[in-house]
Amino acid sequence: MSQSAPRLSMRGIVKEFGPVRALDRAELEVAPREIHGLLGGNGAGKTTLMNVLYGLYRADAGTIAIDGAEVVIASPKDAIDAGVGMVHQSFLQIDSYTVTENIVLGTKLPGPAWRLDLSDPREQVAELSSRFGLHVDPEAIVEDLPVGVRQRVEILKALYRGVGTLILDEPTTNLTPGEVDELFRSMRTMVDEGLSVILITHKIRETMAACDRMTVMRDGRRIATVRREETDAEALAAIMVGRDIDEGVPEAAVIATGVVEDLENVADVVESAEPLRPDPVDSGAVRIEDLRVRNDHGVEAVRGLSLSMSRGEILGVAGVAGNGQVEFAEAVAGVRQPESGRVSIRGTDLVGRPTREWLAAKVAYVPEDRDGDGVLPTMTVAENLVLGSQRSADIRRGGLIDWKAARQKAAEAIATYSIRANGPNALAGDLSGGNIQRVILARAFAHEPSLLILHNPTRGLDLRSTQFVYEQVHAATAAGCSVLLLSEDLDELVALSDRLVTIYNGEFVGEWARGAVDQVAVGQSMAGVGVER
């Protein structure tokens, strides 16, 4: 790649969290002036490796060299001194500080120690901001800024410190397509100015668009480092998912290995994973009549929705976020009290009944906000799995919860659902996003649901986890469960749904049968084209 020493070289990095080996002799080499993609699924160790580089985690073994010289990085301060900057997935900002205050925090400033003078730094920030195309008002209070701008602040923080290597951890997750293009342009400018940029991602398309080289990680190890010109999306996907089947890999992954045509296309993933399942029977397994629900601000968000679902049917609900999906899902799940209307499952009317009866009717809900609504982050995996089944006879003894049995069940779920956790006693909040979703699914399926409500179930998940979710959904429908799938991913909806409806402004505005979906028409319908007012 180049004659000079690599900008960064990490060798034999090992990091263990209790019995889990998150990094197993991981390697990474980044050349000067390149954008290097760090690719891998959830839990592959990408972020862990970068946290080691940034001094947030202390490696158990391994060496790091920057520009050919070995360095010891025991804290973020060491990393900054070594010219390494990192933009985390969740921004590390002081909400109540201004942009400039956030950027200069922790640096030495000109002028006397007893007087804070931010006029020079402010100019510097403005200068950096225009040079790299990272537009931001240096005087704005950070908590008032939208996500895209806060990310620019985070990048400027690193640039202000004159970093030579900039790590970006999944930077595109919350950006609009336009913002992603801008970000990639800024990254190119940085490289032109002599920086090296490491882009952590699980999106193959992104690395192909932005990176010069990419390193693929799996199970805490480097699998391959390839140049963009010498590879393509299919090859990368194959490496990422792993053709070899090692122990502990769920069946979903086995199926996924066969999928290499176009892994960005969810539809193909599903097609290949679809098992035989019975035709939907028993229309009316789930009946919703004229449901009206108010949102948190008292505004009617769901305005008279009615539908009927059969056993084993998947009903997809397409819509732009904020058109009543959350309120609808919560009302049907029994979490939110509707204004009026009926929800009945297999003949039982449930509106107004206590939660216990909803559970008895076997309604399971996988909410959109995994961390906030899905799990209790400060409780253990076992405790999270028990929630909702605390009255189940399997784990009760003499009126109390039999924790031994509960932990036993949790351990089984951890194995069945391939949850990467330090056993049943690991804290849910310490798991990665994909693993949290597995915990939620494990809990939902433990109820053998007759109605499963999924809201954006695969958002932010890697391919293998996505595949896994689809597998589980099909397994549930095969057992007669009706599935209400609310998603913003149209490919996912088209691929999974037996029937697709669009929701706009709290009302259903279109319906398509499986195989007859016109994506353009669905898109227009979601946008409210043809709907009055």
């Binding site: 947030l56 973020p76 990192m86 109540s96 205050e101 925090l105 922790g106 640096t107 804070l116 804290l427």
Partner: protein, 310 residues
């Protein structure tokens, strides 16, 4: 006019324990350490301050030793919560009881039970030249003991440090978002420990002030809940030194008023007047959301390798 001047002149010294202890609480709190042992530390400060000045014969030495002893408690709090990540509230509560017990023990051992309790001289007043000669204003503001002036100057310095220096920017970051501060090379643990020590020292001085200004004696009940009030005061003042002064004036005003009500025997029970500061705090917490903001990570320990916080 004369009565007002007299009232203000009484309120200022009454403010001192509130100001010192509350600024100490703010100092620790803005770095993220929520000390709840103020009541105990004030009693201990009072006992130590009294005993040392009694045996050495110098109030100044008494004040410094009280600061050092309370600072030691702050060190324990700091180390236990930052290095060992023990729950701040539990540790604080334990320190409260420990300090309370230690104060009685020290006094019993040194003095024992006597019919004639030992006395120390109360603090002399240092009228400020020229300023104290201004009619009314001089009597109100410029004819007090040194700790009164100190409390005010200290509040100003604390404000300046927190909002007008680069070090203050780093300091506040430890309480607002320690993960962010850490990621930028700020030593969160050290900052928090230092803040905890200095904050506790101020609380100790606040306690030592009590025997030195009012009675010249030490009694176990002399702090009389001021330590708990101080926690309310920190919230009331939105954890900002400038508003702490205003809040302290209000609390001290109520205290003086209650005392007068008791002496003058007016219709309102003095216990009711003593309740007012608490009610005011509740009202402020209920209605003034913007005002009543507090450090976001107040009382929360920081663990670099945990994914839970921050």
């Amino acid at each position: 006019m004369n009565e007002i001047a007299e009232f203000v002149a009484l309120v200022l010294p009454a403010m001192v324990p509130f100001v010192l202890a509350a600024q100490g609480t703010v100092l620790s709190g803005r770095a993220g350490v929520f000390n709840v042992s103020q009541e105990g530390l004030m009693v201990l400060g009072a006992a130590v301050g009294f005993l040392v000045s009694y045996s050495v014969g110098s109030n100044a030495v008494g004040v410094f030793v009280a600061a050092a002893v309370a600072g030691l408690f702050g060190l324990i709090l700091g180390v236990m919560t930052t290095n060992w990540r023990l729950d701040q509230f539990i540790v604080g509560l334990a320190l409260y009881f420990a300090a309370l017990g230690l104060a009685s023990l020290l006094y019993r051992v040194a003095v024992g039970t006597t019919l004639e309790p030992p006395l120390i001289p109360t603090l002399e007043s240092y009228p400020i030249p020229l300023l104290s000669k201004i009619p009314y204003l001089g009597e109100m503001f410029f004819d007090h003991d040194l700790l009164v002036y100190t409390a005010f100057v200290l509040s100003g310095l604390l404000f300046w440090f927190m909002y007008r220096t680069n070090a203050g920017l780093r300091f506040r970051a430890c309480g607002e978002n320690p993960r962010s501060a850490d990621s930028l090379g700020v030593n969160v643990a050290r900052t928090r420990i230092v803040a905890s020590v200095l904050g506790a020292s101020l609380v100790g001085v606040a306690g030592a002030y009590l025997p030195m200004v009012y009675t010249g004696t030490f009694t176990e009940g002399m702090v009389a809940g001021r330590g708990w009030l101080v926690i309310a005061l920190a919230f009331l003042g939105g954890w900002r030194p400038q508003y702490i002064l205003a809040g302290a004036a209000f609390f001290a005003g109520m205290e003086v008023l209650a005392l007068r009500a008791q002496v003058a025997g007016i219709g309102i029970p003095h216990q009711f007047v003593l309740m007012l500061p608490y009610i005011a705090t509740l009202v402020v917490m209920m209605f003034a959301f913007r005002w009543a903001r507090q450090p976001r990570f107040l009382g929360q320990n920081y663990d670099r390798e945990s994914r839970l916080a921050g």
